[in-house]
């Protein structure tokens, strides 16, 4: 029965989305991390989704193939009293864009919900198929 593949497909999507959510959480947690003169500040990370074929034609799941680092320069704030300030009195914060991350979070959680719903529907259809011909 080809419907069993739905659990593989949606399951892969759910795990990919939860990994995305994980990365968003890590980015948001480090939004205000400061880099010192000796080490670079936290760099925002992004997941890369790729389609993976699963058996029959048209059945494709999702996989996180890599997690890339954002290389845009971090936020620089003039604050000479900060212990991590450099020689010119600037403090470098991480390059996390909080608004972008919140949007990413909402998108990931919606996609997660969609896939869970797909699995629930597939399950109820399969249960009904199991009871086929038993009605009296």
């Amino acid at each position: 029965m080809s419907m069993f593949k739905i659990f593989n497909v949606s399951g892969s999507a759910v795990s990919a989305q939860s990994q995305r959510l994980n990365v968003v959480a890590s980015n948001l947690a480090n939004a205000d991390t400061v880099g010192g003169p000796d080490r670079s500040p936290y760099k925002a990370r992004h997941v890369v989704f790729t389609t993976v074929p699963m058996g029959e034609v048209g059945t494709s799941g999702v996989q996180v193939t890599q997690v890339t680092e954002d290389n845009t320069p971090g936020r620089r704030v003039h604050d000479p009293k900060h212990p991590q300030a450099d020689a010119e009195g600037y403090v470098t914060y991480s390059n996390v864009n909080a608004v972008e991350e919140m949007v990413n979070m909402i998108s990931a959680s919606r996609s997660y919900q969609n896939n869970i719903e797909v699995m629930n529907t597939a399950k109820s259809l399969l249960m009904k198929t199991l009871q086929l011909g038993q009605g009296t």
């Binding site: 739905i6 029959e56 259809l125």
Partner: protein, 145 residues
């Protein structure tokens, strides 16, 4: 005589198989809603059902030859007819065009896919009911009560 009785159930089972395949296809589309470059896929249900039932009547007449298939070692491999080896008659897939232009070349329209998914679910259940009804009718005829 007996095949006349089971003919309608055979037809419904073919419809059920195609419905389940479409369900799987839409699930793939929903799963790949955030994958860059993914093109949504779908097939024409009525044409596929016509094809499938036409192939079945040819099989009943004993006309079709067994298909030779290539060996595959990976789920991405295709057979000679462009479909995985050992698979049954597959509907011809088409690509859905994007209703909005996207920068990441993804043509999945979530609203459309969700609507299709619900529609397909209801029709799947309807087909199940039709089969249940046929079975019930046959049971009544057999038991004679």
């Amino acid at each position: 005589m007996l095949n006349r009785i089971t003919d309608s159930i055979n037809f419904q089972s073919e419809a059920l198989r195609l419905r389940s395949e479409r369900q799987r296809l839409i699930a793939s589309n929903i799963a790949n809603a955030d994958t860059p470059g993914y093109q949504a896929k779908d097939f024409n249900f009525s044409a596929a059902l016509k094809d499938a039932t036409g192939a079945r009547s040819a099989a009943d007449a004993g006309l079709n030859l067994p298909r030779l298939a290539l060996q595959t070692a990976s789920p991405g491999h295709l057979a000679l007819n462009g479909q995985p080896a050992g698979s049954r008659e597959q509907p011809e897939l088409g690509y859905a065009t994007a209703s909005m232009t996207n920068l990441d070349n993804n043509s999945v329209d979530m609203d459309r896919e969700r609507a299709n998914f619900v529609d397909n679910t209801v029709r799947f259940e309807a087909t199940l009911r039709f089969i249940n009804g046929s079975v019930k009718t046959l049971n009544t005829a057999i038991t004679g009560q």
